[in-house]
Structures are given as structure tokens and as C-alpha cells.
Amino acid sequence: MNKLMDWDEVGPLFRDGMSIMVGGFFAVGTPGGIVSLLAEQGTRELTLIGNDTASPTTGVGPLISSGQVSKVIVSHIGTNPVTGRKMMDGEMEVELVPQGTLAERIRCGGSGLGGVLTPTGVGTVVEEGKTKLAVGGREYLLELPLRADVAILKARKADRAGNLVYERAARNFNPVMAFAADLVIAEVDELVDTGCIDPDEVMTPAALVDRIVVSRKEA
């Protein structure tokens, strides 16, 4: 089972209309090579799920600027004015989800849970349309699972089996997204032989990773 791909194998894995989870927090921990490739090949009508929409030229921003995205599910859009404009103009749907709730919803989607009760958002517009339950005298919102067709992750290092290691705050949403998509693709800076990562230091187990592509070196 060879998970390692060349870059020309990456593009055909994506189709118009797909939902894609993208790791990263303001572009830190976002697989830039895969995003660039999607921008180049013009895959359209995407639903993107991630922390934010970065800026018009960083992170997932280029896909939004080019009009390839029909919906985003994110916690923050304030750093990308294009997102705000497209939302106001009705060109793109924006579902805003509190950051911790987003993490929990993805976690539910990836771990077989039907939902979680969170206090986050009680008494705000976030509660609209949601089931509210009281437990131990406190009110909670029932937040539902979130999954995607594909998750694209960025790791510092992978072994050939697909075990991943992230660096510092570039970890963020990557590990949880690895559980929650039908196809999981990791873009990695460094590839090592299987057995070269101590099992205690693996942050995403190989069993969750379907394909690996090594980042192009910057010229």
C-alpha cells in the first residue's frame, strides 16, 4: 500500500462540489501546495471547512478570491475582506461557528459521536435552530457532527506509512480533521522511512492518512 503520490496524482482526487476540510490557523498549518494546485486546476463549488479564511492571498484565501468556493464553515473571517464582501453580496455562503464548537463538531464527525452539549453560544444567535438541554442546572446547546469528503492536512514530517508530526502551532485543526473525512491527504515537508518516528511522538496515526505528497521546495 503505497500512500506516497507525485504532484500530478493530486489534482484528480478532487471534483467540483466537494466539501474539503483544510487544516490551518491564518495559513499556519495549511497545505499551501495543495491549495495552489486547486486554484490552478479551477475545481469549483467547493465547501471549505476550517478555522478561518486567512487573507486574500494566503491560506485558503486564493480559492475564495477566485470564486471557487460556494460555502465556508469557519470561526473567523475578519482577516479576509474578500470573504466579507462575497458574503454581503450573496456570492458565497458563510456559516460562522465558534472555534471550540467547530473543533468539537469535527471531532464528533470523526469519532462516531452523534453530537456534544456545549455551553458556548447559549444566549446568542448561535443557538438559533438548535436543541437546548439543561444538565446539572446549566443550559447547553446540542452541536452536531461535521464531516467532509476530503481533508487536506499539513505536517512537518511523515513516515512512509503515513504517521504525521506537526510543528508548534501549525498543529491546530490538522489532527482532528484526519478523523473526519472520507479521504485524508497530507502535504509534508519531510518524508522519512517507516520506523523513524518514535511511536510516542506520532500526532496523527498512519491508519488515518490515505495519501501523502511532499511539499515542493521553494525556489
Binding site: 478561518d52 473571517i77 471550540g100 473543533a103 458556548t120 444567535v125 502551532a169
Partner: protein, 217 residues
């Protein structure tokens, strides 16, 4: 001393030895520079670590704060994913969060994440921080740029959380919130009660122990 510095210096006095603290973007990030030398706090950054420090030397890969700016990690720092970051935040493992505000009302409600039709940046981690931090301090200028009060009987902007704010620090005054009422605790040097009354959009109690606004350093 400008308004922001006065606010930051006052907030710094709320942070005690050993506290785990999450600071919102903007004004709250000024607070650590006014901490006394003998007070050691741990800064939590919602993008995934504990032990944020100042940037020293060249930026290192992945070492950025929740605003995306390069930062440092102190000895003893720990990195984790977003799920863990918000387990810490929501689970009451952050002693204090200091957040900016657009409006605060006498029920401890805070609005700071959107202005309908105008600005919708999203809530980011703010709603979770409000829901989960042990203590929520709002650090903001007393009025808007156009002079409208930000302390109100009832917020009219969409709320970030209900009933979670317990302290408001502005450049003019410090208010506690308890049992549905603002309680004026401190007045900034040279600021009188009438000025604060005039610039505040809610009635408030005056503490028996009203004193001059303290400032760290």
C-alpha cells in the same frame, strides 16, 4: 499615559501568580508588559499552546500567536491541537480571559463579535473563552469613537455571551458586575463621578470602598 496604557496597567493588577491567562487581540495584549516582576503567569494562545512569550530573535516556524504574529515560547511551554486548546478554555482551566468589547451590560452580557450590516469578523474563540474562563475581564475604552457609551443597561448588538463578564476596566473607571448591576469601584485619577455618570449608559451603584484607579508599576 494614554487610555489604552491606563487600561492595560489596571488589568495587569488582576493577574496573580500562577494564573493561566488568555488575552484577546488588540488592547489586552498590552497587559503582560505591566506585570510586576514577581508575578508569573502562563499565557494560553487559542491556536494551540500554553507558555506564549515575546519573540526573541528570528521568527520560528509555527511559533505565532492567535493573531498570526510571530511570538516566542517560554521554557515549559506546551503545544497541542485545537480540540485540546478549547478543552482547556471551555473546561475552566483558564483562570482569566481579558477581552476587548463593543458593549457590556449590567447583566454581564458582552457584545464584541459583530455589527450587523457593517462588520462581521466572526466570533473566533471568543464565545468559548467567555463560556469557559473562570473570570472574564472586559478591557475597553469607555465610549465609542463617536462618544456613545459602551456600558449599557442592555446590549443592542448581538451578544458574544450572556452573563459572563464580572469586571470592566476602562480608561475612566473600574466596574464590577454583580446581581444585575454595575458597581463602580475605582475612578481614574482626575476623573469625577459626574463625568462617568454622563458617559455610562446604565445606572450603577457606587462602592462603599470607591477609590482611585490602581495601576501596576
Amino acid at each position: 499615559m494614554d487610555a489604552k496604557e491606563r487600561i492595560a496597567r489596571r488589568v495587569a493588577k488582576e493577574l496573580k501568580e500562577g494564573y493561566v491567562v488568555n488575552l484577546g487581540i488588540g488592547l489586552p495584549t498590552l497587559v503582560p508588559r505591566f506585570l510586576p516582576k514577581d508575578v508569573h503567569i502562563t499565557l494560553q494562545s487559542e491556536n494551540g499552546f500554553l507558555g506564549m512569550g515575546a519573540l526573541e530573535g528570528e521568527p520560528r516556524p509555527g511559533e505565532v500567536n492567535a493573531g498570526g504574529q510571530p511570538c516566542g515560547l517560554v521554557p515549559g511551554a506546551a503545544v497541542f491541537d485545537s480540540v485540546t486548546s478549547f478543552a482547556l478554555i471551555r473546561g475552566g482551566h483558564v483562570d482569566v480571559t481579558v477581552l476587548g468589547g463593543l458593549q457590556v451590560d449590567e447583566d454581564g452580557n458582552l457584545a464584541n463579535w459583530m455589527v450587523p450590516g457593517k462588520m462581521i469578523p466572526g466570533m473566533g474563540g471568543a464565545m468559548d473563552l467567555l463560556a469557559g474562563a473562570k473570570k472574564v475581564i472586559v478591557a475597553m475604552e469607555h465610549c465609542t469613537k463617536t462618544g456613545e457609551p459602551r456600558l449599557l443597561e442592555r446590549c443592542d448588538l448581538p451578544l458574544t455571551a450572556k452573563g459572563r463578564v464580572s469586571l470592566v476596566v476602562t480608561e475612566l473607571a473600574v466596574f464590577g458586575i454583580s446581581h444585575g448591576e454595575f458597581v463602580l469601584r475605582e475612578l481614574a485619577p482626575g476623573v469625577d463621578l459626574d463625568t462617568v455618570r454622563q458617559k455610562t449608559g446604565a445606572r450603577f451603584l457606587v462602592s462603599d470602598s470607591l477609590c482611585e484607579m490602581a495601576a501596576a508599576l
